[in-house]
Symmetry: C2
Subunit: 619 residues, 2 copies
């Protein structure tokens, strides 16, 4: 089964990329774009920056090495591994040569790192050696499942065995989690139990503590508390969700229901208080961390692409383990509003951070972007974790769409695709997320339940099959029967645009509302900041739909423009007018004008612009 996650137990079992074949449509188009454009784009940049060259350099003489310094940050090896994972899922022809380059750099005992080779394991807090192995192992698992053993998988097993020898009986771990989930998956792929035991120990020793003190504080890398004792995700967002994913994997394979429940509770609390409307995670640029409960600034939302991807990985694992639809709901929100947002429509540039408000149009940059701001997508970054993470996620995305259990098939994410399970073959046809109609046609006969997820916003949904129509509630709409070729099941999700309001404790968006339609968050985008979005006040009547020729739906709301207040001091006390700094009391313009909203994931494709998801309302 070609899936990045294959638990040996759990409520639901994934259907892999060999069982789910996406067809053209929202996700199918992006999966194809990734395979045809983005993977090669990433490889080209990894050559250009010398990050692949770092592996070749290890075969050179010390003198040659001295003349050609290593390039990139201490964790750049991991980008090559994520690219290899993408290539493995996509069965990309460039894989063997790139894998051979990596293999040639591995040492006799399995050690492999282009940064630390002569100074092994000297910096667990920042060295990222186990982090790099984690991504290497995930690439190896992908190769094993999508292709079978080859040179890359041998490299991976040697590295994994090296890790077990070196770390099984220490109290050490890595500042950046990922090796935990990677080792569990390698156990699942090979049956070698020491990989699971190693992963379990890495999870359990965290927070004892296992790492040294750092300026950001120990919560930054989740070493402040044992995993099972924490109440909420905290610190660096990517690290937090990667660690939680590994903990779920360990819990599932060892039957540790206490650990699983702990992660579920942390997920619940985080999702209630520390998440942006888009599903994005992280509010602080300084340490790429969550921040406190309800610290959700739209302008400085960090919402790193990798954190969104990690959140999808975590929610998918929790969905498989529990069958709880809320995990699929959040995964969908994050897929449409973080993952889809991060990749430009041409497949060649990326958002690192995805804020929900941009006040000043970004200045176009040439070359590598050094800063993870979110005003324009960039072709590459100094810390370029996101592009290769996007590439491996799209390459395996088909494996996230549907699952099975003893009773049948569950379709969690609605996208045109062919799905096979047991003898049953289905074709999903839909214009989702633009249209709410999802049709499942039976191609090859079979039996069992066919469950279709009904998202939480879709009250009033209807399910039609066998000549009957019935209302279905959010959760799963279940069609049961003996299916014959040609049978058709149709789910209708109401797609009326809706205004969404924040929790009153979300201080940064008080007095604002956002528009959603189906799974999509919308935003006002103002190319060159005309009209000025800082002065917009929106009415909250139901937005008017505009269906464009390519299927995309844009929305109009009514908005008025405030007069800009006087400009001397931005605070005023009306009862005590200030002579030196007159208060600027804005008056709304007399009548509202239509303000066009675009799907958030499409913003920033028309050049430098301002943008806001949360619109101040006239109320």
């Amino acid at each position: 089964m070609a899936s990045p996650v294959l638990p040996s137990s759990g409520v639901l079992s994934p259907l892999g990329t060999d069982s789910v074949r996406p067809a053209p449509g929202f996700w199918g188009d992006r999966i194809a774009l990734n395979r045809e454009v983005t993977i090669a784009h990433c490889q080209e940049w990894m050559e250009r920056t010398g990050w692949i060259g770092n592996f070749r350099r290890l075969g050179a003489t010390p003198a040659q090495r001295g003349a050609h310094p290593r390039q990139g940050r201490e964790f750049s090896d991991s980008e090559i591994y994520k690219l290899l994972e993408a290539m493995a899922w996509a069965d990309h022809p460039n894989l063997p040569e790139l894998a051979a380059t990596v293999a040639a750099a591995q040492e006799e005992d399995g050690y492999l790192n282009t940064r630390w080779y002569d100074d092994r394991y000297s910096d667990f807090e920042w060295g990222h050696e186990l982090y790099c192995y984690g991504h290497l192992i995930q690439a190896g698992v992908a190769r094993l499942r999508a292709h079978g053993e080859d040179e890359l998988t041998k490299v991976v097993l040697r590295a994994a065995d090296h890790i077990c020898r070196r770390f099984m009986n220490t109290q050490e771990t890595c500042g950046h989690p990922v090796v935990e989930m990677a080792l569990v998956e390698l156990y699942r792929a090979t049956g070698t139990e020491r990989y699971l035991e190693m992963a379990r120990r890495f999870v359990e020793r965290r927070g004892l503590p296992a790492l040294g003190d750092i300026t950001f504080g120990r919560a930054y890398f989740q070493d402040d508390l044992p995993v099972r004792r924490a109440r909420v995700f905290r610190g660096h967002a990517v690290r937090a969700v990667y660690l939680a994913s590994g903990a779920v994997d360990v819990a599932v394979e060892t039957g540790d229901s206490e650990l699983l429940s702990a992660i579920e509770a942390q997920w619940e609390r985080t999702v209630a208080r520390r998440i942006h409307l888009t599903g994005g995670l992280g509010s602080r640029h300084s340490d790429e961390s969550f921040g406190e409960d309800f610290e959700l600034p739209p302008d400085r939302a960090y919402s790193e692409t990798c954190a969104g991807i990690g959140s999808i990985m975590l929610s998918h694992r929790l969905l498989l383990a529990t069958g709880n639809v809320r995990y699929a709901d959040l995964a969908e929100r994050t897929m449409f509003n973080v993952l889809a947002t991060a990749l430009a429509l041409d497949g060649r540039s990326f958002f690192y951070a995805s804020p929900l408000h941009v006040r000043v149009p970004a200045s176009p940059l040439e070359g590598v972007n050094q800063v993870a701001e979110g005003g324009l997508r960039s072709p590459w970054f100094t810390v370029s974790c996101c592009p290769s993470n996007i590439a491996r996620t799209y390459a395996s995305l088909a494996a996230y769409l549907a699952t099975s259990d003893a009773s049948g098939v569950q379709i969690h994410h609605h996208a045109p695709a062919e799905i096979r399970h047991g003898g049953l073959a289905l074709r999903v046809e839909t214009g989702y997320p633009w249209s709410g109609a999802v049709t499942v046609r039976v191609l090859e006969a079979g039996s069992g339940r066919i469950s279709l997820r009904v998202p939480p916003w879709a009250s009033g949904a209807r399910l039609s099959y066998g000549g009957a129509v019935r209302p279905v509630s959010p959760g799963y709409a279940v069609a049961e029967g003996e299916w014959r070729a040609g049978d058709e099941i149709r789910l209708d999700l109401p797609m009326t645009p809706r205004w969404t309001y924040p929790d009153p404790r979300a201080d940064a968006v008080r007095g604002c509302a956002a528009v959603e339609r189906g799974p999509l968050v919308y935003c006002a985008e103002s190319v060159g900041d005309e009209p000025p979005l800082s002065l917009i006040r929106a009415g909250t009547a139901t937005p008017v739909e505009h269906h464009l020729l390519d299927g995309v739906v844009e929305l109009d709301v009514q908005a008025s423009l405030l007069h800009p207040p006087a400009d001397a001091w931005p605070y005023s006390s009306p009862q005590a007018p200030q002579s030196a700094a007159p208060p600027g009391q804005p008056a709304p313009a007399p009548a509202g004008e239509p303000l066009r909203l675009v799907p958030y994931h499409r913003w920033g494709n028309r050049g430098p612009a301002t943008m806001r998801v949360w619109l101040p309302t006239t109320a």
Copy 2:
């Protein structure tokens, strides 16, 4: 004249610490506390951390040096220099010994730096060598003016001459400005014109550009544009206001009215769009920068103490140059709400950042604070620029209170003090900022105008002298006459608490108002977060005053507590209820209860607490 700023021309001339003698009162008490406690506290920590030891270490053998590595960050020498400046203004007995320690580390040619001595000027972007000299020179100027020539002033002249020799004909400058204003002041103190010329060149070569590229971008250290071409302060806030101060000094001494006007325009635009209600500067923790226009988050307000001090220094210079009362207004706001806030009531701990909203009570720390958050004051920091900056500012604060011109004396900041100018001697008596009554008694006869600043919030103020009372407007209230001993001038400033509202473009505080009384910003402080400030909604009736026994005024407003909303997902769409994530529509509690507000500068002295300046209103 003992003043840190002594321009040779300008509308107003400062009265130094030898002319203005503070008496007990708001500022006098803090000036005494600083002299008696804070200066020694800083010296003790600089010994404990080894930062003073770095100077002794340079006299050791290379082998001894190897055994005792240098301590602290690359700029720690500057802390010793700021402490020396504080000691110089305070005529502190510890100065000669500490100055001798510094002097012994100076090299033959005047070079002096404990970090870079064997690798001089190899990193202009981050090395801080000229920055350290800047603070050394400011210490020397203080010593020259408050005491006269001694060993310290000789060290300073040797260093300044070294700088002129090394940098007069290059295009180099330092990543962190301060040497510019220091050199102008040394020119003012000595008459040596090359110091002014060197400062002028440092100012002019910035932005050509003069420095290398860095991750934060060139605006971080104001090397993106020539000083006179910029429109607004940007980048690292401390660097921005230090550079602007130096540019004003150069403009004044060279008669460069274009440069002076450029800084005035930058100040205007910054103050209209990039300033917190407290006068604090800086909104981003990641690079300690301003952020964009109207990016003013109360919770993540950086508002570094040093940026506030730099802003006071800049506004004071602009006040002297132009006589425009707006500069004194902002200086007062910043003094009462940033400077006074930064120092604990016991004089031994400090805020580095001063946010306007704290959601979670801080955890008390032992020892050195590594992170510049603002939940509790700390005795010392890894980057400990603020404590010594506070010390030198209080030690010279008397020189900021009053000025003179040909017509007489101007009192900009109301504090008990004796002021002498010409033959005239005045005693200011006031309980300001708690009381709005300011009395000026003539101690020794003289003539000339006595001008008292009327702050912008004080409409309805009255001035009484010579048996007459008349209304005075914000600006300066002027009393003219031939003054005899015993004459009395009285200014009455109305101190009614007022609600203050933000510009509608200040997104992060939409729907909120703050309370001010006189020059003080108030805040709700909730020790242990009881009541929970996240759920407060305040009514905007005039707050009720409570006068405490020590003169402090606290205020009560009426507030209700929202019921906490349901907890699954922090966003809701009322027209389309979500079954999986029910919307939590808060209902206000039936009746308001009094909520106590305390002066912002006093918050955080009672242990870990939550705090908010901007209160969501019921409106």
